[in-house]
């Protein structure tokens, strides 16, 4: 059981990054369906820089920057040029996946044995090791204090984002833009600037989620198509988490659990084919979508201005 929950936390972390990033983006009034693409961009950037420099910090930074650059394209299209948000996000997904696979393939061709690897010292830094003292507490130590460093980064990022959104003036400004850009504009807020900043921030965080996938889940080896739909699950998780980074912590744990269930379920008791285990996260997401739309809780829910482009002269 402890092993199962441990694996769930590990598998849920990329989703946590993606969900947190998308919450920021949506709260500022833009539905960016390009999470998958930004995660791909981040996955490639993180791996590429890690592969060449061996520095975890630089790898994370690179994934943040490339994810944010992907978001910049999206922001330029939707905020400045007022393009359709749904299709712009899809375009970003197609572009990001193509970009990562394309340059990933070049990396594969350049590697000596056709397998681009991360340096061993790099992998050691990302290894799972118990935090001194805390890690030696029975059960809890193993469950919460024995992870690789990126898990903690993810949790801290989510908590900071929660604090930023709920407790700071900038967060309030950002939420007001998402709810009613017209009113925010009238109050003297630079709507365009706020949207750009938050879309870029969200994209960068999504990119870090991609880096987690290529650096940790990949086991130190580059795989094309590594993100494999996790960005889309993150988009759905936003609804599950009710647009709150704090609830995203729980949501990503639950979805992480579903995605590793096939390795831990007592097969002799519940005999269902493997394909259904893999299907579970998607099936649950669909069910969650339906139930949350039936429930339609007013509080914390999707910002009123989400997915509608703001045009000043059209108020």
């Amino acid at each position: 059981m402890i092993n199962f929950l441990f694996a769930a936390i590990k598998a849920g972390t990329p989703l946590l990054f993606g969900t947190t990033g998308e919450i920021i983006t949506e709260k500022t009034g833009n539905l960016n369906l390009g999470v998958e693409g930004m995660m791909f961009l981040g996955a490639f950037a993180g791996f590429f820089i890690g592969h060449h420099t061996g520095s975890v910090v630089l790898a994370l930074l690179a994934s943040f920057i490339l994810g944010a650059l992907g978001a910049l394209i999206y922001a330029f299209l939707t905020v400045t040029l007022k393009a359709n948000q749904t299709v712009s996000g899809l375009a970003l997904t197609i572009f990001g996946a193509g970009f990562a696979n394309f340059f990933g393939q070049i990396m594969i061709a350049a590697a000596e044995d056709g397998v681009p690897k991360l340096p061993e010292t790099f992998m050691n830094r990302l290894a799972e090791k118990p935090i001194p003292v805390l890690g030696s507490i029975p059960y809890i130590g193993k469950l919460f204090f024995s992870h690789n460093i990126l898990v903690y980064v993810g949790i801290i990022v989510a908590l900071i984002c929660w604090f930023y959104m709920k407790k700071t003036r900038a967060g309030l400004t950002m939420r007001s833009v998402g709810e009613n850009p017209g009113a925010a504009d009238a109050a003297g807020i630079n709507v365009t600037l706020v949207k750009y900043m938050n879309i870029l921030l969200g994209g960068g965080i999504c990119g870090m989620g991609g880096a987690y996938i290529s650096l940790v889940n990949g086991g130190g080896v580059w795989n094309n198509n590594c993100v494999n739909g996790q960005g889309w699950i993150a988009v759905a998780l936003v609804i599950f988490a009710n647009w709150s980074p704090a609830k995203a912590l729980l949501g990503s744990l639950v979805f992480g659990a579903f995605s590793v269930l096939q390795f831990y379920a007592p097969k002799d008791i519940i005999a269902i084919p493997n394909a259904f285990y893999v299907m579970l996260p998607y099936l649950i997401t669909a069910i969650v979508l339906v139930f949350s739309s039936i429930k339609k809780s007013k509080e914390h829910s999707q910002p009123a201005g989400c997915s509608i482009n703001y045009f000043r002269e059209e108020r």
């Binding site: 007022k82 749904t86 299709v87 197609i94 572009f95 193509g98 084919p273 394909a275 979508l289």
Partner: protein, 360 residues
């Protein structure tokens, strides 16, 4: 009069452009996209002209290559027509992938277990089964959308994965070919269940062209098509006019899914002769690009389908000729879509510079 408060550049709404002008903008956008794509190739240290030329030649270099290009185009065109219907209604159906798969599954059932039927009857049943399979898969999100307002984008997307793993289950479980040892797969269809060839390419292309005309006429000249447009423009207007919006949404999505189902059927029985996880292979997503590029015009969809098919087929020679992987076509597709989306701005808005005379 001194107008110091006026910004350097101001954005204002344009009057709506005619269809012909819009199509022109699409083509202009395409040219810019090809140019930007060329810059991308240039940054890789390759000659864009040589790359584009070999993509073009790669798609047309032999009758076999040309047939391959058309084979790529068939499912793409059919599904882009399906998406056109949904997008016209502003129903963001990105579940074409799953609807293609379900069409393939339903059609394959008859190909695998009822292949004793007379050839044309069997193919007809497979076609109808494919339509029902895809249609139902499109109907599910439409039902929840119109009933509870469930986000259709995410729902259709999740249904893609569910359909995909359904094939995985069938492949590993009940439909596994006992004759194949090792890697599990579904048996190849018997000749009786294979789609006939017309002019060397499976009959899917004829079906696709018929559908082009059908969708065009349906959208432009029928009452149902008109209802789709009204719902797409404004649901409230449709309601005031006494239209049953949820019925229209569900009917249209069934039709959209059914058309995707046809693509699934032709892919299984015409191209692969079996059912595999690769049956849709991203076609459902590329079809969105086609539908958007063609501004939901079925005839323009033919042109842009051909364009993207040439790009995909031609890029398969990139690896040997330039050391660029086939993923280059994905990158170029993304760039094209970005540019087209950006160019759209100039069809709807105009820029007014500071101090310019008013001329409206």
């Amino acid at each position: 009069m001194k107008r110091s408060g006026e910004p350097l550049i101001r954005v204002a709404k344009k009057t709506e452009l005619s269809g012909g002008r819009l199509a022109l903008f699409s083509l202009l956008g395409l040219c810019i996209a090809i140019f930007v794509g060329g810059l991308f190739i240039l940054t890789l240290g390759k000659n864009p002209f040589a790359v584009y030329q070999s993509i073009f030649m790669g798609a047309f270099r032999s009758p076999l290559a040309f047939q391959g290009t058309i084979k790529i185009a068939i499912p793409l065109l059919i599904s882009s027509l399906a998406i056109t219907l949904a997008f016209k209604m502003k129903f963001w159906n990105i579940g074409a992938e799953g609807q293609i798969i379900m069409g393939g599954i339903f059609a394959s059932y008859f190909a695998l277990f009822h292949d004793g039927l007379p050839h044309f009857l069997l193919l007809l049943i497979m076609l109808i089964a494919g339509m029902i399979g895809g249609g139902l898969w499109g109907l599910i999100p439409a039902f929840f959308k119109s009933r509870f307002g469930t986000n259709e984008t995410l729902f259709t997307l999740m249904l893609n994965y569910i359909a995909l793993y359904l094939i995985k289950y069938l492949t590993e479980g009940p439909w596994r070919d006992p004759a194949s040892s090792g890697f599990p797969k579904i048996a190849t269809f018997t000749a009786n269940a294979q789609l006939d060839k017309i002019l060397g390419i499976h009959a899917g292309w004829v079906i696709a062209l018929i559908l082009v005309v059908f969708v065009f006429v349906y959208l432009k000249y029928t009452k149902q098509g008109y209802e789709i447009t009204v719902v797409g423009e404004s649901e409230n207007t449709a309601r005031y006019a006494g239209m049953n919006v949820s019925k229209i949404v569900m009917r249209t999505m069934f039709l959209s899914g059914a058309i995707c189902g046809i693509a699934g059927m032709t892919q299984a029985s015409g191209a692969a002769y079996t059912l595999s996880e690769g049956i849709a292979g991203g076609v459902g997503f590329t079809a969105i690009i086609v539908a958007w590029l063609s501004r939901l015009n079925p005839f323009l969809a033919v042109i842009f389908t051909l364009f993207l098919s040439v790009l995909q087929k031609g890029s398969s020679v990139m690896q040997s000729a330039f050391g660029l992987s086939t993923y280059v076509s994905d990158v170029l597709e993304g760039i094209i879509l970005f540019v087209i989306l950006g160019v759209d701005f100039f069809t709807q808005y105009k820029l007014i510079f500071r101090g310019a005379q008013k001329h409206d």
